[in-house]
Amino acid sequence: MSNVTEIRWHGRGGQGAKTASLLLADVAFSTGKFVQGFPEYGPERMGAPITAYNRISKNKIRVHSNIYEPNFVVVVDQTLLESIDVTKGLKPDGAIVINTEKTPEEIRKELKGYTGKIHTIDARKISEEALGKYFPNTPMLSAIVKVSGVMKEEIFIKEMQHSFEHKFAAKPEVIEGNMKALKIALQEVK
């Protein structure tokens, strides 16, 4: 079971955390892995805290529970740090990726004694620069791929291009911006 990579996403309804987890499942699938991508469902509303999960493995995945001891945590909205214990159960040798303009050192004191690895990325800045709008999930997807190393960056970029061409077949004008956001994010994650 140690060869399963488990990822937990924290976001707010409408920010695309669920979509990002499904995209990650998609792209990992295309590299030949066994995957799970699933949100925790409830009466979600825009802005309410939501959780989504990924399991990525070389072997068939049978377990159907939520993830309590993830290898990685992604925080799509930094305001969640106040209300949610985002590092709960996070493995000591794992890492957390947070969308914030702060540096890892600055954000550490908001993580209530967490001593593991911290990565930060200013997804707002990247998204607004590349897309002209605030969609934090695309840069966060890049960030977790880089931090977790679940696949090579070149393969990720290639597969995402493919995936966006399919997903945005009806509005190809947004593909370029999204690809740009992915590429910048790979560079900017700290």
Binding site: Q36, G37, Y41, I61, V63, S65
Partner: protein
Amino acid sequence: MAIRERLSGNEAVATAMRQINPDVVAAFPITPSTEVPQYFSTYVANGLVDTEFVPVESEHSAMSACVGSEAAGARTMTATSSCGLALMWEELFIAASCRLPITLALVNRALSGPININADHSDSMGARDTGWIQIYSENNQEAYDNFIQAVRIGEHKDVRLPVMVCQDGFITSHAVENIELIEDDKVKEFVGEYYPQNFLLNSKQPMSVGPYDTPTYYMEHKRLQAEGMIKAKKVILEISEQFEKLTGRKYGLFETYKLDDADSALVIINSTAGTAKDAVDRLRAEGKKVGLLKIRVFRPFPAEEIAEALENTKSIAVMDKAEGFNSQGGPLCSEIKSALYNIENAPKIINYIYGLGGRDVKVDNIIEVYNELEKINKTGDIGNKYRYLSVRD
């Protein structure tokens, strides 16, 4: 060659429906099964199927439309969950007693109240005695495979009963996982064309369906209906065998996992069976003799076969994802106890109510259950026979 894909459980069932290309689908949306008719209606709109899609105003109407269309001679399907199935209640009996092989994708969800949209089995367990065949699925793959087989099972001349194919709401219906799909033409060939013996739209042989029945005849009709359910067991196994030839995936009436030499066994249904298999592996690595039996076919209930599979265990925990409110435990436990009643030195049986309304079940929770069984094996003291798993107390 199988097609490697990744789909949610709902997409998987909708894909099976597309490949089967039924004559009629009549459905009303309800969480978490909504996506099934939603995906399917796009297949209709895009011309991928030539199905008549009937959007109705309630589940009562959905099943009524299914009864009418199946009686007319059309291969008919629907999907629902929870309160939707409850609203179909009356028609479920009619579909079964009129011997109409409708296929229903049931995405298991708790029944109110308090209102809850997450998974448990109170909906399908409530409908267990309506005369429908019930087949359960651990994951998206099984939901897909079972749905394709269900068509053949229900329509078989010895059976002629409606079939519901169940999977856990959200846990598998909304989780994207790997799946192996069968090619469209092979599915089409496997299910074949539907040729009912008698049907309303046969102008050469007019008929009446659903007449008033007097006490003089009603019992004979019910006895004949029961025969369909009795014969279904053999038919299910025959079709599973053909399915295995097509796909290499083997299905029985139930699945056993490391049960042959097990002292402690779980009996479980749907998605938590996968979680429990991980628990079994973990405990086996510690040298513990544990195993499980996963129910696939709950109606007809394969009592003799289950008794044979479990008779050499010392203790069993029957896992019910539905309350029975009989003050004794859940419906699955009652059935398992009956199945084992005539076994000499029958294993000790405890019942756990678990996972109600989407309460998450971890590998550790299942290990806790096996630990309790180990205690019973050691002390011989069964203790409380009716327990709740992961309830705050």
